[in-house]
Protein backbone atom coordinates (compact mmCIF):
# COMPACT_ATOMS: atom_id res chain seq x y z
CA UNK A 1 0.00 0.00 0.00
CA UNK A 2 1.28 3.44 -0.89
CA UNK A 3 1.01 5.44 2.31
CA UNK A 4 2.39 8.59 0.72
CA UNK A 5 -0.62 9.09 -1.51
CA UNK A 6 -2.32 12.49 -0.88
CA UNK A 7 -5.85 11.12 -0.58
CA UNK A 8 -4.70 8.44 1.84
CA UNK A 9 -2.87 11.01 3.98
CA UNK A 10 -5.91 13.29 4.25
CA UNK A 11 -8.32 10.45 5.05
CA UNK A 12 -5.91 8.89 7.55
CA UNK A 13 -5.38 12.10 9.54
CA UNK A 14 -9.09 12.93 9.48
CA UNK A 15 -10.08 9.51 10.79
CA UNK A 16 -7.47 9.51 13.55
CA UNK A 17 -8.39 13.01 14.73
CA UNK A 18 -12.10 12.17 14.79
CA UNK A 19 -11.48 8.99 16.80
CA UNK A 20 -9.29 10.82 19.31
CA UNK A 21 -11.78 13.69 19.64
CA UNK A 22 -14.68 11.30 20.22
CA UNK A 23 -12.73 9.36 22.84
CA UNK A 24 -11.70 12.52 24.70
CA UNK A 25 -15.24 13.90 24.63
CA UNK A 26 -16.57 10.64 26.04
CA UNK A 27 -13.97 10.50 28.83
CA UNK A 28 -14.47 14.15 29.70
CA UNK A 29 -18.25 13.67 29.95
CA UNK A 30 -18.05 10.55 32.07
CA UNK A 31 -15.54 12.03 34.53
CA UNK A 32 -17.25 15.42 34.76
CA UNK A 33 -19.35 14.66 37.86
CA UNK A 34 -16.30 13.55 39.85
CA UNK A 35 -14.26 16.55 38.73
CA UNK A 36 -17.06 18.95 39.65
CA UNK A 37 -17.29 17.41 43.12
CA UNK A 38 -13.55 17.93 43.59
CA UNK A 39 -13.79 21.49 42.33
CA UNK A 40 -16.68 22.26 44.67
CA UNK A 41 -14.74 20.97 47.69
CA UNK A 42 -11.76 23.06 46.57
CA UNK A 43 -13.92 26.19 46.25
CA UNK A 44 -15.35 25.57 49.71
CA UNK A 45 -11.92 25.15 51.28
CA UNK A 46 -10.81 28.39 49.61
CA UNK A 47 -13.79 30.25 51.07
CA UNK A 48 -13.18 28.75 54.52
CA UNK A 49 -9.52 29.83 54.26
CA UNK A 50 -10.61 33.34 53.39
CA UNK A 51 -13.02 33.44 56.35
CA UNK A 52 -10.11 32.39 58.60
CA UNK A 53 -11.30 28.91 59.58
CA UNK A 54 -7.71 27.72 59.24
CA UNK A 55 -4.87 27.90 56.76
CA UNK A 56 -5.29 26.35 53.31
CA UNK A 57 -2.81 23.59 54.22
CA UNK A 58 -4.79 22.70 57.35
CA UNK A 59 -8.09 22.64 55.46
CA UNK A 60 -6.59 20.55 52.66
CA UNK A 61 -5.82 17.79 55.14
CA UNK A 62 -9.57 17.30 55.46
CA UNK A 63 -11.16 15.13 52.80
CA UNK A 64 -13.85 16.34 50.41
CA UNK A 65 -16.65 15.12 52.67
CA UNK A 66 -15.18 16.79 55.76
CA UNK A 67 -14.85 20.08 53.87
CA UNK A 68 -18.53 19.98 52.93
CA UNK A 69 -19.43 19.09 56.53
CA UNK A 70 -17.46 22.02 57.88
CA UNK A 71 -19.03 24.40 55.39
CA UNK A 72 -22.57 23.23 56.17
CA UNK A 73 -21.80 23.63 59.84
CA UNK A 74 -20.22 27.07 59.66
CA UNK A 75 -22.29 28.82 57.01
CA UNK A 76 -24.91 31.21 58.35
CA UNK A 77 -26.56 32.27 55.13
CA UNK A 78 -25.68 32.50 51.46
CA UNK A 79 -27.55 34.52 48.87
CA UNK A 80 -27.24 36.27 45.53
CA UNK A 81 -27.57 40.04 45.18
CA UNK A 82 -27.79 42.45 42.25
CA UNK A 83 -25.75 45.60 41.71
CA UNK A 84 -28.03 47.59 44.04
CA UNK A 85 -27.42 45.16 46.89
CA UNK A 86 -30.95 43.75 46.67
CA UNK A 87 -31.23 40.03 47.51
CA UNK A 88 -32.34 38.10 44.42
CA UNK A 89 -32.45 34.56 45.84
CA UNK A 90 -31.07 32.37 48.58
CA UNK A 91 -28.35 29.80 47.87
CA UNK A 92 -28.82 26.30 49.19
CA UNK A 93 -26.56 25.66 52.21
CA UNK A 94 -27.81 22.21 53.31
CA UNK A 95 -25.13 19.52 53.42
CA UNK A 96 -26.55 17.39 50.58
CA UNK A 97 -26.94 20.13 48.04
CA UNK A 98 -24.49 22.91 48.76
CA UNK A 99 -24.59 25.67 46.17
CA UNK A 100 -21.38 27.61 45.58
CA UNK A 101 -20.07 29.57 42.62
CA UNK A 102 -17.39 27.70 40.67
CA UNK A 103 -14.70 29.67 38.78
CA UNK A 104 -16.67 28.97 35.59
CA UNK A 105 -19.79 30.60 37.02
CA UNK A 106 -17.70 33.51 38.28
CA UNK A 107 -16.38 33.96 34.75
CA UNK A 108 -19.94 34.36 33.44
CA UNK A 109 -20.73 36.91 36.15
CA UNK A 110 -17.49 38.71 35.38
CA UNK A 111 -18.75 39.26 31.83
CA UNK A 112 -22.09 40.44 33.19
CA UNK A 113 -20.44 42.97 35.49
CA UNK A 114 -18.17 44.33 32.80
CA UNK A 115 -20.84 44.34 30.08
CA UNK A 116 -19.92 44.14 26.43
CA UNK A 117 -20.52 41.46 23.83
CA UNK A 118 -20.22 38.51 26.25
CA UNK A 119 -22.88 39.81 28.63
CA UNK A 120 -25.64 37.24 29.12
CA UNK A 121 -27.78 38.99 31.72
CA UNK A 122 -27.79 41.21 34.78
CA UNK A 123 -24.99 40.42 37.28
CA UNK A 124 -25.83 37.95 40.04
CA UNK A 125 -23.35 38.35 42.85
CA UNK A 126 -23.00 35.65 45.51
CA UNK A 127 -22.50 36.59 49.17
CA UNK A 128 -21.57 34.05 51.83
CA UNK A 129 -22.04 34.97 55.50
CA UNK A 130 -20.34 32.66 57.97
CA UNK A 131 -21.23 32.07 61.61
CA UNK A 132 -18.07 33.82 62.79
CA UNK A 133 -19.62 37.00 61.36
CA UNK A 134 -17.40 37.23 58.30
CA UNK A 135 -18.81 37.92 54.86
CA UNK A 136 -17.03 36.23 51.95
CA UNK A 137 -17.31 37.54 48.40
CA UNK A 138 -15.55 36.23 45.28
CA UNK A 139 -13.43 38.11 42.76
CA UNK A 140 -12.52 37.05 39.23
CA UNK A 141 -10.35 38.50 36.49
CA UNK A 142 -7.47 38.04 34.10
CA UNK A 143 -3.89 37.44 35.21
CA UNK A 144 -0.94 37.33 32.83
CA UNK A 145 -1.48 33.88 31.28
CA UNK A 146 -4.98 32.91 32.32
CA UNK A 147 -7.83 33.58 34.71
CA UNK A 148 -7.28 34.42 38.37
CA UNK A 149 -9.94 34.35 41.06
CA UNK A 150 -10.22 34.40 44.80
CA UNK A 151 -12.28 35.09 47.89
CA UNK A 152 -12.08 38.11 50.18
CA UNK A 153 -13.73 38.09 53.59
CA UNK A 154 -14.85 41.16 55.53
CA UNK A 155 -15.43 41.58 59.25
CA UNK A 156 -19.05 41.74 60.34
CA UNK A 157 -20.80 44.73 58.76
CA UNK A 158 -17.57 46.49 58.05
CA UNK A 159 -15.19 47.29 55.22
CA UNK A 160 -12.22 45.85 57.11
CA UNK A 161 -10.72 42.85 55.31
CA UNK A 162 -10.52 39.75 57.50
CA UNK A 163 -8.80 37.44 55.05
CA UNK A 164 -8.14 36.67 51.42
CA UNK A 165 -7.31 33.67 49.29
CA UNK A 166 -6.43 33.76 45.60
CA UNK A 167 -6.07 31.07 42.98
CA UNK A 168 -5.00 31.02 39.34
CA UNK A 169 -4.95 28.74 36.37
CA UNK A 170 -1.51 29.24 34.86
CA UNK A 171 0.47 32.12 36.36
CA UNK A 172 4.27 31.82 36.34
CA UNK A 173 5.54 29.53 39.09
CA UNK A 174 7.60 31.45 41.66
CA UNK A 175 6.39 34.86 40.45
CA UNK A 176 2.70 35.39 39.61
CA UNK A 177 1.82 32.06 41.24
CA UNK A 178 2.70 33.69 44.57
CA UNK A 179 -0.82 35.14 44.77
CA UNK A 180 -1.80 31.56 45.65
CA UNK A 181 1.39 30.00 47.02
CA UNK A 182 2.65 32.78 49.25
CA UNK A 183 0.53 33.07 52.42
CA UNK A 184 2.39 36.24 53.40
CA UNK A 185 1.01 38.02 50.33
CA UNK A 186 -2.53 37.02 51.26
CA UNK A 187 -1.89 38.11 54.86
CA UNK A 188 -1.09 41.62 53.68
CA UNK A 189 -4.77 42.17 52.94
CA UNK A 190 -5.81 41.44 56.53
CA UNK A 191 -6.69 44.60 58.44
CA UNK A 192 -6.75 46.87 55.40
CA UNK A 193 -9.97 48.79 54.79
CA UNK A 194 -11.68 48.74 51.39
CA UNK A 195 -12.81 52.06 49.95
CA UNK A 196 -16.32 51.15 48.89
CA UNK A 197 -17.89 53.80 46.70
CA UNK A 198 -14.65 54.69 44.94
CA UNK A 199 -13.32 53.21 41.75
CA UNK A 200 -10.07 52.11 43.41
CA UNK A 201 -11.55 49.94 46.15
CA UNK A 202 -8.33 48.13 47.07
CA UNK A 203 -5.02 49.25 45.61
CA UNK A 204 -2.13 46.89 44.91
CA UNK A 205 0.86 49.21 44.67
CA UNK A 206 4.38 48.95 43.33
CA UNK A 207 7.29 49.96 45.53
CA UNK A 208 5.73 49.18 48.88
CA UNK A 209 2.54 50.05 50.72
CA UNK A 210 2.89 52.91 53.25
CA UNK A 211 4.35 51.78 56.56
CA UNK A 212 4.37 53.44 59.96
CA UNK A 213 7.42 54.09 62.13
CA UNK A 214 7.42 50.56 63.49
CA UNK A 215 7.41 49.06 60.02
CA UNK A 216 3.80 47.89 60.22
CA UNK A 217 1.54 48.43 57.25
CA UNK A 218 -0.64 51.54 57.69
CA UNK A 219 -4.36 50.78 57.77
CA UNK A 220 -5.49 52.02 54.36
CA UNK A 221 -6.56 50.32 51.15
CA UNK A 222 -3.01 49.73 49.88
CA UNK A 223 -1.27 46.37 49.55
CA UNK A 224 2.24 45.57 48.32
CA UNK A 225 2.46 44.14 44.81
CA UNK A 226 4.56 41.05 44.06
CA UNK A 227 8.09 41.71 42.84
CA UNK A 228 8.64 40.37 39.33
CA UNK A 229 4.94 39.80 38.75
CA UNK A 230 3.73 43.20 37.61
CA UNK A 231 1.13 41.90 35.17
CA UNK A 232 -0.37 39.42 37.64
CA UNK A 233 -0.46 42.11 40.35
CA UNK A 234 -2.18 44.54 38.00
CA UNK A 235 -4.64 41.86 36.91
CA UNK A 236 -5.46 41.05 40.53
CA UNK A 237 -5.85 44.75 41.32
CA UNK A 238 -8.29 45.16 38.42
CA UNK A 239 -10.21 42.00 39.37
CA UNK A 240 -10.61 43.13 42.98
CA UNK A 241 -11.65 46.66 41.99
CA UNK A 242 -14.19 45.45 39.41
CA UNK A 243 -15.84 42.99 41.75
CA UNK A 244 -15.77 44.98 44.97
CA UNK A 245 -17.14 47.98 43.12
CA UNK A 246 -20.06 45.78 42.04
CA UNK A 247 -20.60 44.86 45.70
CA UNK A 248 -20.10 48.39 47.02
CA UNK A 249 -23.80 49.31 47.41
CA UNK A 250 -24.39 46.20 49.49
CA UNK A 251 -21.43 46.88 51.76
CA UNK A 252 -22.15 50.61 52.04
CA UNK A 253 -25.73 49.92 53.11
CA UNK A 254 -24.58 47.38 55.69
CA UNK A 255 -21.82 49.43 57.24
CA UNK A 256 -24.04 52.51 57.32
CA UNK A 257 -26.80 50.61 59.08
CA UNK A 258 -24.28 49.62 61.71
CA UNK A 259 -23.01 53.13 62.23
CA UNK A 260 -26.53 54.50 62.61
CA UNK A 261 -27.32 51.85 65.16
CA UNK A 262 -24.35 52.93 67.17
CA UNK A 263 -26.27 56.05 68.23
CA UNK A 264 -28.70 53.88 70.11
CA UNK A 265 -25.89 51.75 71.44
CA UNK A 266 -24.38 54.39 73.69
CA UNK A 267 -24.45 54.17 77.46
CA UNK A 268 -25.53 50.95 79.07
CA UNK A 269 -25.87 49.07 75.76
CA UNK A 270 -22.41 49.94 74.55
CA UNK A 271 -20.88 46.55 75.22
CA UNK A 272 -23.66 44.66 73.50
CA UNK A 273 -23.30 46.86 70.48
CA UNK A 274 -19.64 46.26 69.93
CA UNK A 275 -20.00 42.83 68.49
CA UNK A 276 -23.24 42.92 66.66
CA UNK A 277 -25.39 45.94 65.95
CA UNK A 278 -28.17 44.11 64.22
CA UNK A 279 -28.78 41.78 67.13
CA UNK A 280 -28.84 44.76 69.41
CA UNK A 281 -31.39 46.50 67.25
CA UNK A 282 -33.54 43.41 67.27
CA UNK A 283 -33.24 43.24 71.05
CA UNK A 284 -34.40 46.82 71.43
CA UNK A 285 -37.40 46.24 69.25
Amino acid sequence: MNTNNNVYTVIYTTVIVVIVAALLAFVSQSLKAKQDANEKAETISQMLTSAQYGTKAELDKLGNAAKLDKYAEEIDKAFVIDLDGKVLRELNTSREDIEVYSPKQLKRQNYNIKGGANKTGEPELPVFVFKNGRTVVPIYGAGLWGPIWGYISFEHNSATIAGAYFDHESETAGLGAKIKDDPSFQKEFVGEVANFGESNVVDIVKGGAPKDAEGKSVVDNKVDAITGATMTSQGLDAAIDTWLEAYSKYFQANTKACEENHDCCEGEHEEACEGDCENHKAKEE
Binding site: N5, Y8, E42
Partner: protein, 204 residues
Protein backbone atom coordinates in the same frame (compact mmCIF):
# COMPACT_ATOMS: atom_id res chain seq x y z
CA UNK B 1 13.11 -13.25 28.37
CA UNK B 2 15.72 -12.89 25.67
CA UNK B 3 18.78 -10.71 26.06
CA UNK B 4 17.61 -8.03 23.62
CA UNK B 5 14.36 -7.42 25.47
CA UNK B 6 16.22 -7.29 28.77
CA UNK B 7 18.56 -4.71 27.30
CA UNK B 8 15.53 -2.67 26.12
CA UNK B 9 14.25 -2.50 29.67
CA UNK B 10 17.49 -2.04 31.60
CA UNK B 11 19.38 0.32 29.30
CA UNK B 12 17.16 3.43 29.87
CA UNK B 13 17.20 2.95 33.63
CA UNK B 14 20.93 3.51 34.05
CA UNK B 15 23.34 3.15 31.12
CA UNK B 16 21.24 5.14 28.65
CA UNK B 17 19.19 7.18 31.12
CA UNK B 18 17.12 9.78 29.26
CA UNK B 19 17.96 12.60 31.68
CA UNK B 20 21.58 12.02 32.63
CA UNK B 21 22.90 10.52 29.39
CA UNK B 22 20.57 11.73 26.64
CA UNK B 23 19.93 15.02 28.56
CA UNK B 24 16.23 15.10 27.66
CA UNK B 25 13.39 16.27 29.90
CA UNK B 26 15.59 18.62 31.95
CA UNK B 27 13.02 21.41 32.12
CA UNK B 28 10.29 19.45 33.87
CA UNK B 29 12.77 17.72 36.15
CA UNK B 30 13.70 21.16 37.53
CA UNK B 31 10.09 22.21 37.93
CA UNK B 32 8.35 19.28 39.59
CA UNK B 33 10.97 18.05 42.04
CA UNK B 34 10.18 20.31 44.98
CA UNK B 35 8.16 17.58 46.70
CA UNK B 36 8.46 13.80 46.48
CA UNK B 37 4.72 13.38 46.03
CA UNK B 38 4.68 15.66 43.00
CA UNK B 39 7.71 13.93 41.51
CA UNK B 40 6.13 10.50 42.00
CA UNK B 41 2.87 11.50 40.31
CA UNK B 42 4.79 13.14 37.47
CA UNK B 43 6.97 10.03 37.06
CA UNK B 44 3.93 7.74 36.91
CA UNK B 45 2.20 10.06 34.43
CA UNK B 46 5.23 10.06 32.13
CA UNK B 47 5.54 6.26 32.36
CA UNK B 48 1.87 5.85 31.36
CA UNK B 49 2.02 8.42 28.56
CA UNK B 50 5.32 7.13 27.20
CA UNK B 51 4.39 3.44 27.39
CA UNK B 52 0.92 3.64 25.91
CA UNK B 53 1.75 6.16 23.16
CA UNK B 54 4.66 3.94 22.11
CA UNK B 55 2.34 0.94 22.05
CA UNK B 56 -0.37 2.68 19.99
CA UNK B 57 2.07 4.17 17.50
CA UNK B 58 3.94 0.91 17.13
CA UNK B 59 0.64 -0.80 16.27
CA UNK B 60 -0.07 1.90 13.68
CA UNK B 61 3.52 2.13 12.40
CA UNK B 62 2.94 0.50 9.01
CA UNK B 63 -0.14 2.58 8.20
CA UNK B 64 1.10 6.06 9.17
CA UNK B 65 1.74 8.28 6.11
CA UNK B 66 5.43 9.24 6.24
CA UNK B 67 4.91 12.92 5.57
CA UNK B 68 2.55 13.52 8.49
CA UNK B 69 4.01 11.04 10.96
CA UNK B 70 5.07 13.73 13.47
CA UNK B 71 1.53 15.13 13.44
CA UNK B 72 0.03 11.69 14.03
CA UNK B 73 2.49 11.15 16.88
CA UNK B 74 1.51 14.49 18.39
CA UNK B 75 -2.20 13.66 18.20
CA UNK B 76 -1.69 10.36 20.02
CA UNK B 77 0.65 11.79 22.67
CA UNK B 78 -1.65 14.78 23.25
CA UNK B 79 -4.59 12.43 23.68
CA UNK B 80 -2.69 10.43 26.31
CA UNK B 81 -1.63 13.57 28.17
CA UNK B 82 -5.21 14.89 28.28
CA UNK B 83 -6.48 11.49 29.46
CA UNK B 84 -3.92 11.40 32.28
CA UNK B 85 -4.81 14.96 33.29
CA UNK B 86 -8.55 14.19 33.28
CA UNK B 87 -8.07 11.06 35.37
CA UNK B 88 -5.85 12.87 37.90
CA UNK B 89 -8.49 15.60 38.25
CA UNK B 90 -11.21 13.01 38.96
CA UNK B 91 -9.78 11.44 42.09
CA UNK B 92 -9.87 13.11 45.44
CA UNK B 93 -6.38 11.88 46.31
CA UNK B 94 -4.73 13.21 43.16
CA UNK B 95 -6.79 16.38 42.60
CA UNK B 96 -4.59 18.52 44.86
CA UNK B 97 -1.39 17.20 43.27
CA UNK B 98 -2.79 17.84 39.81
CA UNK B 99 -3.49 21.42 40.87
CA UNK B 100 0.03 21.72 42.27
CA UNK B 101 1.66 20.33 39.11
CA UNK B 102 -0.78 22.47 37.08
CA UNK B 103 0.76 23.19 33.68
CA UNK B 104 3.50 20.58 33.94
CA UNK B 105 1.14 17.64 33.39
CA UNK B 106 -0.04 19.28 30.16
CA UNK B 107 3.57 19.97 29.25
CA UNK B 108 4.44 16.25 29.22
CA UNK B 109 3.60 16.52 25.52
CA UNK B 110 6.65 18.74 25.06
CA UNK B 111 8.85 16.29 26.95
CA UNK B 112 11.44 15.23 24.38
CA UNK B 113 11.64 11.74 25.88
CA UNK B 114 8.15 10.80 24.69
CA UNK B 115 8.50 11.97 21.09
CA UNK B 116 12.15 10.93 20.98
CA UNK B 117 11.44 7.32 21.89
CA UNK B 118 8.49 7.07 19.50
CA UNK B 119 10.54 8.42 16.62
CA UNK B 120 13.66 6.39 17.44
CA UNK B 121 12.15 3.13 18.62
CA UNK B 122 8.37 2.62 18.40
CA UNK B 123 8.10 3.38 14.67
CA UNK B 124 10.62 0.67 13.85
CA UNK B 125 9.81 -2.07 16.34
CA UNK B 126 7.03 -4.48 17.26
CA UNK B 127 4.38 -3.36 19.81
CA UNK B 128 5.56 -5.34 22.86
CA UNK B 129 9.22 -4.19 22.81
CA UNK B 130 8.01 -0.65 22.02
CA UNK B 131 5.72 -0.64 25.02
CA UNK B 132 8.53 -1.88 27.27
CA UNK B 133 10.89 0.72 25.82
CA UNK B 134 8.38 3.50 26.55
CA UNK B 135 7.79 2.30 30.10
CA UNK B 136 11.50 1.85 30.78
CA UNK B 137 12.36 5.32 29.50
CA UNK B 138 9.58 6.80 31.61
CA UNK B 139 10.95 4.86 34.57
CA UNK B 140 14.50 6.07 33.92
CA UNK B 141 13.18 9.63 33.88
CA UNK B 142 11.08 9.00 36.99
CA UNK B 143 14.01 7.49 38.87
CA UNK B 144 16.12 10.63 38.47
CA UNK B 145 13.08 12.78 39.35
CA UNK B 146 12.58 10.89 42.59
CA UNK B 147 16.27 11.01 43.56
CA UNK B 148 16.35 14.78 42.98
CA UNK B 149 13.03 15.31 44.78
CA UNK B 150 14.22 13.22 47.73
CA UNK B 151 17.12 15.59 48.39
CA UNK B 152 15.16 18.74 47.58
CA UNK B 153 12.28 17.95 49.89
CA UNK B 154 14.55 16.66 52.66
CA UNK B 155 16.89 19.67 52.61
CA UNK B 156 14.44 22.30 51.36
CA UNK B 157 11.45 21.56 53.58
CA UNK B 158 12.93 19.09 56.09
CA UNK B 159 10.17 16.63 55.22
CA UNK B 160 9.60 13.50 53.10
CA UNK B 161 6.15 12.96 51.59
CA UNK B 162 5.03 15.83 53.84
CA UNK B 163 6.12 14.03 57.02
CA UNK B 164 8.56 15.85 59.29
CA UNK B 165 11.98 14.20 59.22
CA UNK B 166 14.84 16.67 59.68
CA UNK B 167 12.50 19.28 61.17
CA UNK B 168 12.24 17.20 64.32
CA UNK B 169 15.93 17.74 65.02
CA UNK B 170 15.73 21.51 64.76
CA UNK B 171 16.81 21.66 61.12
CA UNK B 172 16.23 25.02 59.45
CA UNK B 173 15.01 24.42 55.86
CA UNK B 174 17.33 25.78 53.20
CA UNK B 175 15.40 27.99 50.81
CA UNK B 176 18.01 27.71 48.04
CA UNK B 177 17.17 24.02 47.69
CA UNK B 178 13.54 24.89 46.89
CA UNK B 179 14.61 27.08 43.94
CA UNK B 180 15.13 25.52 40.47
CA UNK B 181 18.90 26.25 40.28
CA UNK B 182 19.56 23.75 43.02
CA UNK B 183 17.84 21.01 41.01
CA UNK B 184 20.32 21.75 38.23
CA UNK B 185 23.23 21.48 40.69
CA UNK B 186 21.87 18.14 41.95
CA UNK B 187 21.42 16.88 38.40
CA UNK B 188 25.01 17.85 37.67
CA UNK B 189 26.14 15.84 40.68
CA UNK B 190 24.18 12.81 39.49
CA UNK B 191 25.73 13.05 36.01
CA UNK B 192 29.16 13.36 37.65
CA UNK B 193 28.60 10.21 39.73
CA UNK B 194 27.31 8.29 36.72
CA UNK B 195 30.25 9.30 34.53
CA UNK B 196 32.75 8.27 37.19
CA UNK B 197 31.19 4.80 37.22
CA UNK B 198 30.62 4.55 33.47
CA UNK B 199 33.99 5.45 32.00
CA UNK B 200 32.87 5.08 28.37
CA UNK B 201 30.66 8.19 28.73
CA UNK B 202 33.65 10.43 29.41
CA UNK B 203 34.76 12.61 26.54
CA UNK B 204 38.43 12.27 25.61
Amino acid sequence: MDAKLKETILNPIFKGNPITVLVLGICSSLAVTVTLKGALVMALSVIVVCGISSLILSLLRNTIPGRVRIIVQLVVVAMMVILVDQVLKSFEATYAIDKQLSVYIGLIITNCIVMGRIEAFALGNKPWPSFLDGVANGAGYGLILIVVAFFRELLGSGTLFGIDILNRFGYVPNNLVILPPFALILLGCIVWVQRSIQKDLQEK
